[in-house]
């Protein structure tokens, strides 16, 4: 099944993009293909009701049943017990749900699970483990870029993706590049130090 087959023909969840009042997610790609693509190819309708899908997550094929309206975030958290990505705003504002899809950071609350079929999904569980952390994760711990830690997996993902496209960021680039994630505890001072240090160590 090709990407187009799975991304179109489903009733899209009406999500809003940031309206310019919140921070702008400059590092993020739109998670839904433009409507015109969908109009060109109209495959068979899937759903309503649960349908079987296969998601390639952290290098493994995972089979699950979801209704077409289920977001990638809910599929990960509620069906596969991959709870590193967090649900906070559930509408593309905060970045707590950030995962990588085909190497690009994506708000998983704003992508349907069926849209992610056939694509390479990386969640925070696919980076390091507590005993074998990536450079970004180590830098987050060292610079205390976390308090309650609820925003941390999202920031770690955003930061990892950002550094892969900006290996030597300036302070300003880093502030802008990670502007699509929010932290309530106020760990930004540590996060900036962590990003810059992880960059020096060669990113992820």
């Amino acid at each position: 099944m090709t990407d187009n087959n799975v991304t179109s023909g489903v009733s899209r969840r009406g999500f809003l993009k940031g309206l310019g009042v919140g921070t702008v997610a400059t590092g993020l790609i739109p998670s839904v293909a433009p409507e015109t693509e969908a109009a060109e190819q109209r495959p068979a309708l899937r759903g309503p009701g649960e349908i079987p899908i296969t998601l390639k997550i952290n290098g493994q094929n995972r089979q699950l049943n979801v209704e077409p309206r289920v977001t990638l975030l809910d599929a990960l958290r509620n069906r596969l017990d991959l709870t590193g990505a967090k649900k906070v705003c559930d509408r593309g504002t905060c970045g707590a749900c950030t995962v990588m899809v085909d190497g690009q950071p994506v708000y998983s609350c704003s992508m349907l699970a069926v849209e992610a079929e056939g694509r390479m999904i990386t969640t925070v569980e696919g980076l390091g483990t507590p005993t074998q952390m990536t450079a970004v994760q180590k830098a987050f711990v060292k610079h205390d870029a976390q308090q309650c830690g609820f925003c941390t997996p999202g920031f770690v993902m955003a930061c990892t993706a950002f550094l892969s496209s900006h290996p030597n960021p300036t302070l300003e680039e880093a502030r802008a590049g990670l502007g699509g994630n929010l932290c309530r505890c106020g760990t930004y001072a540590g996060i900036m130090e962590a990003v810059l240090e992880a960059a020096k160590k060669g990113g992820a």
């Binding site: 809003l16 940031g18 309206l19 009042v21 919140g22 921070t23 209704e67 309206r69 289920v70 809910d74 958290r77 509620n78 709870t83 590193g84 990505a85 967090k86 649900k87 906070v88 705003c89 559930d90 509408r91 504002t93 905060c94 707590a96 925070v124 569980e125 980076l127 390091g128 483990t129 507590p130 994760q137 180590k138 987050f140 711990v141 060292k142 205390d144 976390q146 308090q147 309650c148 830690g149 609820f150 925003c151 941390t152 997996p153 770690v156 880093a174 502030r175 802008a176 990670l178 502007g179 929010l182 932290c183 309530r184 505890c185 106020g186 760990t187 930004y188 001072a189 540590g190 996060i191």
Partner: protein, 717 residues
């Protein structure tokens, strides 16, 4: 005998150091399980049905259609509820096989309301009800009439909300006569209260609470109530279905109903003499906390407790808004904003430098020397002398972008709370500390490991720390009022000291000396006088054989205070350097400094993190945050994270933190840090904006529309 007193600075191996949090790796890798992340076998999802009206009589609730949806396993509605008093008031709930089904089902619950008149306006004192609170000292009228200068102003700070990133809620599993509950809470030992027990039909002592990680509380998560007064819905639904139930609030409800900081508005008159001494402070304040308590203005003029002539009248406006909850330093940020604004306006009227003014009036606080020292340090850190200018001075800038500095000072208690800890030493050398406490992000686990490790002469990894569960874990109070680190540090210090002394009693005969002659340090038990005569920690513990030593340490706050293990009352100073574009009204924070005293610091890195975090939270409420209500519909119109705006990475400017250390501060013992630095930011920002653009922007947050309106009123734009 090892003593409980804190070791002197040159003897500390772990306490006071920059140490990374021990649970950092599980959080950074997503391995940490928060309550929201708990998935139990066969678990149901619950969602709540809420009132769309700000005030209405509940006529009837029909749940049949919802109950008939395949996958819905239980529907509950609040039979005692006759009236809803705010939009978002919970009336019913459903539990279903999936979150999506639950979402669909709540739309099928038919509630008939008889709409009643509502009132959500809080910035109008004529709407106040009941007798106002009043506090008087001296003779304010006479003092005002004799003052060299009298400055009047009106100021305000709106209702804001906690916006914890992890929503309020829990996973609840009633199993026979027992209830397992995974809540997002800041009070694990107190969470299982009588109401929760009743909801699940179990005895209170059969509630097992488990909260290993939680995503922010800030004062709003002391119990199971999703909103103040709400029923134990997850427990009820689990009892009904015999299955585990997850119920977490959706973000819109989290913002609207899960907790609100009361607003505070005031008309203030300050009387002062020519040299800047404040002689009189006269204020009328009004505020709403929804249906509940409102802002307590009795702590004004804040923190100038020694102003001789004072009159404070505090009014309360009852509104049809979500109920209030404690928000990081209850009452203080409001009192600080209102008082500091009036004081800075007084300095401006006197054409007196703001720093001079605060240095001078520090005499009217309880901690004059501390504030003076901190003011000087903060001024140096910010380069105050080179940048400062009087309000309205051309030095603010010739173009449309004006620059200014603002100052604010604050105080807080922070005495360590009641806490108990068990420390166990085993024959294999392992050490375990258990406390029924929680980690809100402060780094509780890390601090316990540091204190126990320090006491036993072990490294951080030598101590296993278990927290997050209620009884049989030793009870420890909820995390409120910046009391946790003081409380758990003393209880764990005492438990570890007693356990060590029991071990030394076993070891002493083998080493041929009295237990008094031994100490634990560097992974060894050694003679104090002849440190090279030593036994390794593991060898020493092996003498226990199969026995274990378990000792319980108890913090009794008043006793520990006398013993100088902990203390209360701190002072802090903050300064903000901002730029204001008087054409667009946009405020940009260039730099902010925080200087804070907090007694003996257990972990320098974590302590600094608390202060940075508090500053950033303060920048958010100073510049962006407000629960905006529509008077006509009674709804909160910005109950989402686009329009209820938090600060992002780009918004916070350069931040500098300085913690007061040295014998004079450290000899007081440990004092809480979480709240104090969150008090001043709004006031410092407001004063900086006034200094920059020449007029006071009376109300927070300092949004472009408010700045432009103030400039127009002041004849500047």
């Amino acid at each position: 005998m090892a003593k409980v007193d804190w070791p002197a600075a040159d003897k500390r191996s772990l306490i006071g150091k920059h140490i990374s949090r021990t649970d950092g790796p599980v959080k950074a890798t997503g391995a940490a399980k928060y309550s929201y992340d708990i998935n139990r076998p066969g678990m149901l999802w619950a969602k709540v049905v809420t009132s769309p009206h700000a005030h209405a009589e509940v006529v009837s609730i029909d749940t049949t259609a919802a109950a008939a949806i395949p996958g819905v396993e239980a529907v509950w509605h609040d039979e005692t509820l006759k009236e809803v008093v705010y939009v978002g008031h919970i009336v019913a709930a459903v539990a279903a096989r999936t979150e999506e089904i639950a979402q669909e089902a709540i739309r099928q619950v038919k509630v008939q309301y008889k709409v009643l008149p509502h009132q959500v306006v809080d910035n109008n004192p004529s709407l106040a009800a009941g007798n106002p609170a009043e506090r008087k000292a001296g003779n304010v009228e006479e003092a005002l009439s004799k003052a060299d200068v009298v400055v009047s102003g009106e100021y305000g700070i709106p209702v804001i909300t906690h916006c914890c990133l992890e929503a309020h809620g829990e996973v609840n599993e009633v199993k026979g006569d027992e209830m397992l509950v995974w809540p997002s809470t800041q009070a694990v030992s107190g969470y299982g209260n009588q109401n929760l027990a009743q909801g699940g039909g179990v005895a209170q002592n059969k509630i097992r609470v488990d909260c290993q990680h939680m995503g922010g509380g800030f004062g709003s998560k002391f119990n199971f109530e999703l909103a103040p007064g709400a029923k134990p819905i997850a427990a009820i639904l689990s009892k009904k279905t015999g299955k585990p139930v997850k119920l977490m609030l959706d973000r819109d409800l989290e913002l609207a109903i899960a907790g609100n900081r009361p607003s505070a508005f005031a008309k203030i008159k300050v009387g002062a003499s020519k040299d800047g001494t404040v002689t009189a402070f006269d204020a009328e304040t009004w505020s709403t906390g929804g249906q509940g308590g409102a802002f307590n203005s009795g702590i004004m003029p804040y923190p100038l407790t020694k102003v001789p002539n004072v009159r404070i009248i505090g009014k309360r406006i009852i509104t049809n808004r979500g109920g209030q909850r404690a928000w990081r330093a209850p009452n203080h940020p409001q009192a600080c904003l209102l008082t500091m604004s009036a004081l800075a306006d007084t300095a401006a009227q006197l054409k007196m430098d703001e720093l001079e003014f605060f240095l001078h009036n520090a005499a009217l606080t309880d901690r004059p020397e501390v504030y003076r020292e901190e003011l000087r340090i903060a001024a140096d850190m910010l380069g105050y002398k080179a940048k400062a200018h009087l309000r309205g001075d051309p030095k603010a800038g010739a173009g449309p972008v004006k620059r200014g500095i603002g100052i604010a000072i604050h105080t807080w208690g922070g005495l360590g709370h009641n806490s108990e800890c068990d420390v166990t030493i085993s024959g294999d050398g392992s050490v375990e500390a258990k406390i029924g406490t929680q980690d809100l992000g402060v780094g509780t686990r890390t601090c316990i490991a540091q204190v126990v490790g320090e006491t036993l002469g072990l490294s951080l990894d030598g101590v296993k720390v278990e927290i997050g569960k209620n009884s049989p874990y030793p009870p420890s109070n909820g995390s409120g009022g910046s009391t946790t680190i003081g409380g758990i540090s003393v209880s764990s210090r005492k438990a570890a000291t007693d356990a060590l002394n029991a071990l030394l009693a076993v070891v002493a005969p083998k080493m041929g000396v009295a237990a008094d002659a031994l100490e634990a340090a560097e992974g060894k038990i050694r003679q104090i006088e002849k440190p090279h005569v030593a036994m390794s920690w593991n060898e020493a513990c092996a003498l226990l054989g199969k026995e274990q030593i378990t000792k319980r340490g108890v913090n009794v706050p008043a006793e520990s205070r006398t013993a100088k293990l902990i203390d209360a009352n701190v002072g802090g100073v903050q300064m903000a350097d901002v730029s204001v574009d008087i054409e667009t009204g946009v405020v940009t924070l260039n730099e902010m400094v925080a200087v804070q005293d907090c007694g003996l610091i257990v972990n320098m890195k974590l302590c600094e993190s608390q202060v940075y975090g508090a500053l950033i939270m303060g920048v958010a409420y100073g510049l962006y945050e407000e629960c905006i209500y529509d008077a006509k519909t009674g709804r909160m119109v910005n109950a989402d994270m686009e329009f209820y705006r938090l600060a992002g990475l780009k918004d916070v400017g350069k931040l500098k933190v300085h913690l007061m250390t040295g014998p004079a501060y450290e000899s007081r013992g440990i004092i809480g840090i979480g709240e104090p630095p969150a008090i001043s930011p709004g006031a410092a920002l407001s004063n900086a904006v006034a200094n920059a653009c020449g007029v006071r922007v009376p109300n927070l947050p300092l949004t472009p529309d408010r700045v432009i309106a103030a400039l127009q009123k002041g004849g500047i734009a």
